[in-house]
């Protein structure tokens, strides 16, 4: 059996295990990945359609298309600090490559995303919009986001073994990044001179792309997606290099 197919088996099995493990013992079970984003959505709709109206049409569908990928990103990054620390038994196992855990975590949270995705259809139908062929671009955008998440996760997981500050810094960063990502507002609300941080924020580019293919039914802004892709690859490079450099120390330290 080849190494690749075995690694594939392993990742799929662990991701499936971790996914179902989240809901083991809960009454609502698999309804949770559906309920959570809907509750978040209701808050946003109340705030930005009633309290401080932003004047965006079909607001529920607009928010929902960006909310899911954002949750995928934030949950993955927030849990990355514990990847090696909480899976000490796996990391210390012979023949186990610890970086697998970052891929598994990204995949587990992607499953949560995919379970909640079909609701977009309902929201679009209510608003009278149709799904177009551009949804076929979804896997590409998800792939770029996965690379970004794995890179950042590896970085945080590795350094958090030595300095627990890393996970706290990461949670502050995720919180700030949320406001710099057009999830509940549109980039059109932002004046041109303030756009620079949005260009440099890969999640902004990705969220815009998701929204384009799902909500607008249009081709995404290739330039923005390209920049996000470059940043994702850079993040992956930095994450993987620090992992490679420090992994032996991680073994000694755990």
């Amino acid at each position: 059996m080849s190494a690749t197919s075995h690694q594939f088996d392993l990742i799929i099995n662990l991701a499936r295990r971790n996914f179902f493990l989240q809901f083991r013992g809960s009454l609502l079970g698999l309804l949770w990945p559906l309920l959570l984003p809907i509750i978040q959505l209701m808050v946003f709709v109340f705030l930005f359609q009633r309290v401080v109206p932003l004047g965006i049409e079909n607001y529920p569908a607009f928010v929902y298309t960006a909310l899911l990928p954002w949750n995928w990103f934030s949950v993955s990054v927030l849990s990355a600090g514990n990847l090696f620390l909480a899976h000490r038994d796996l990391v210390r196992r012979p023949n186990f490559t610890p970086s697998t855990l970052a891929v598994v975590s990204a995949l587990t949270n992607l499953l949560t995303y995919l379970v909640a995705l079909p609701i977009v259809l309902v929201l679009l139908a209510i608003s009278g919009r149709a799904i177009t062929w551009t949804v076929l671009l979804l896997p590409l955008i998800m792939f770029i986001q996965a690379i970004l998440i794995v890179g950042i996760s590896l970085f945080i997981a590795t350094w958090n073994v030595f300095y627990r500050d890393v996970q706290h810094i990461a949670s502050v960063a995720v919180m700030l990044l949320f406001y710099l990502t057009p999830v509940f507002y549109s980039l059109n609300n932002v004046r041109r001179e303030y756009r620079v941080p949005f260009t440099l924020n890969p999640m902004a580019g990705l969220v815009q792309a998701y929204r384009a293919v799902l909500y607008d039914g249009a081709v995404p802004d290739w330039d923005g997606l390209f920049v996000a892709g470059i940043i994702a690859i850079a993040a992956f490079g930095i994450g993987y290099l620090s992992y490679r450099r420090e992994i032996q120390e991680v073994y000694d330290f755990l």
């Binding site: 059996m1 080849s2 190494a3 197919s5 075995h6 690694q7 088996d9 392993l10 099995n13 662990l14 295990r17 493990l21 083991r24 013992g25 038994d89 796996l90 210390r92 196992r93 012979p94 023949n95 186990f96 490559t97 300095y163 627990r164 500050d165 490679r244 992994i247 032996q248 073994y251 000694d252």
Partner: protein, 444 residues
């Protein structure tokens, strides 16, 4: 293809075989060459970035690290189908060596190479997820062990049958007893057909019948040409299951040889440590009685002040009848520095063959406290030894067995007699009452 920690830091979970003919050492499954491992134990190591910055700001370098060589220039090789035991006292470097072989951590110097898939019984059952069922954990364990999903599904019934968990396999592992848990873990690891198995302090698994099943499994594993690497404190188990034994002491390989001579050198190390310690602390208790036979040694931090052999009516004696009870009682006196100890009692025949031995690993745990002076009694309800002269050994040890407080080796004589007081026509060690019968057979 050879994998080593120095030239390929990152191993993949696959099976690597070195191509035949590439090297003369084709039969090796493991080669450790000149491996040393340095641990820097840093006091006041910054645990957060803040502390790091503060230390740097104050111009202090991180506090000087205490260096500790856990292993020095250790070389071992393991051939296909062989089993190697590693013995040594606590802190001798056994676990560090095993961990390095498993790829956990990089040797400071030297090289570790292996060919094939390692199965490890280190931390048995780690990686099990308590909320998942036994079957789900078995699947994950199998894939982690290097099999494909399909392979695991094909052999899972064998594993479940071996672990004797047919009824419970679809329940969450958290509901398992510790015995069930270990049975599943052991069955899982040993059924995945690794090329060599690493075993650390094995076989506290389940009841004695299941332990025997485990030992049989390991035997058939060896017959199949697989290799074993065993670390254990149980010298009898090492003697029974290893072709060769390596003695580690303070990170160095003291010797490598057949089990008997290795175990002898292990005892020598214990004696040396005791003498070294004795020289450091002086003699706290004077020997009270002259030694008539056997030998006595130890640091005397806890000292055996009297040993008595008692018969069924608690009368002092040095002879008992076959099959009657015997109580071995010892009195001790200890220093305040001794907070816990282990007690060993054994009976040997005149050839110094061990007939029986037993120990309490921790007197404190067994009795709740350790009086400054006290007596320890070991009652044997039925001594079924062949009538002969025997000697009794008793010893007090620190709970990690790293040296000796006081050991009376073959110092006390015990005569075992049969009822009439005359030795009957039996020999050996164990007394079984023979009952002969001779009958003519009908001609065919």
């Amino acid at each position: 293809m050879a994998i080593s920690h120095t030239d390929a830091k990152f191993r993949k979970s696959t099976i690597f075989y070195r191509a035949a003919g590439e090297n003369k050492k084709v039969n090796l499954v493991l080669e450790v060459q000149g491996v040393s491992k340095l641990f820097r134990v840093q006091r006041n190591r910054p645990a957060t970035l803040k502390e790091l910055f503060i230390q740097r700001l104050n111009g202090r370098h991180p506090a000087a690290a205490v260096e500790h060589w856990a292993l020095r220039e250790v070389s071992i090789s393991l051939e296909k189908g062989h089993s190697l035991g590693i013995i040594g006292h606590n802190g001798a470097g056994k676990s560090t060596l095993l961990r390095l072989i498993c790829g956990l951590g990089r040797p400071t110097t030297g090289k570790i190479q292996y060919w094939g898939q390692i199965g490890s019984l280190l931390e048995l059952g780690s990686g099990f997820q308590p909320e998942m069922t036994g079957r789900e954990n078995l699947l994950t364990g199998g894939i982690l062990g290097g099999l494909s999903r399909r392979d695991v599904e094909a052999i899972q019934d064998d594993i479940i049958a071996f672990a004797e968990l047919e009824e419970f396999i679809d329940q969450a592992v958290r509901t398992y007893s510790s015995g069930m848990y270990l049975r599943l873990a052991f069955a899982t690891v040993t059924h995945f057909d690794p090329d060599f198995l690493i075993i650390d302090e094995l076989l506290a698994v389940g009841d004695s019948r299941f332990q025997q099943k485990c030992l049989d499994r390991l035997k058939s594993f060896r017959r199949a040409g697989k290799s074993l690497l065993i670390v254990s404190h149980d010298l009898d188990q090492i003697r029974a299951s290893c072709d060769e034994v390596l003695v580690l002491e303070e990170g160095r390989v003291l010797m490598r040889g057949d089990p008997e001579s290795a175990i002898r050198s292990y005892y020598d190390v214990m004696r040396q440590r005791t003498e070294k310690r004795q020289a450091q602390i002086g003699v706290p208790h004077q020997f009270t009685a002259p030694i008539q036979q056997g030998s006595r040694y130890g640091t005397q931090e806890a000292s055996i002040t009297a040993v008595r052999l008692l018969d069924g009516e608690d009368r002092m004696t040095d002879h008992i009848y076959v099959g009657s009870p015997l109580t071995i009682e010892l009195e001790y006196l200890r220093l305040n520095t001794v907070s816990d100890m282990a007690c060993l009692v054994g009976i040997f025949n005149e050839n110094y063959t061990k007939c029986f031995e037993t120990f309490i690993p921790s007197i404190q745990k067994a009795s709740g406290e350790l009086p400054a002076r006290g007596s320890i009694r070991c009652r044997l309800p039925e001594v079924s030894l062949v009538p002969a002269r025997y000697s009794v050994s008793v010893g007090l040890f620190p709970p990690d067995w790293s040296f000796v407080y006081d050991h009376h080796g073959h110092m006390h004589t015990l005569h075992v007699m049969n009822e009439s007081g005359i030795h009957a026509d039996v020999s050996g060690i164990l007394m079984v009452r023979p009952d002969w019968a001779v009958r003519p057979l009908d001609p065919p």
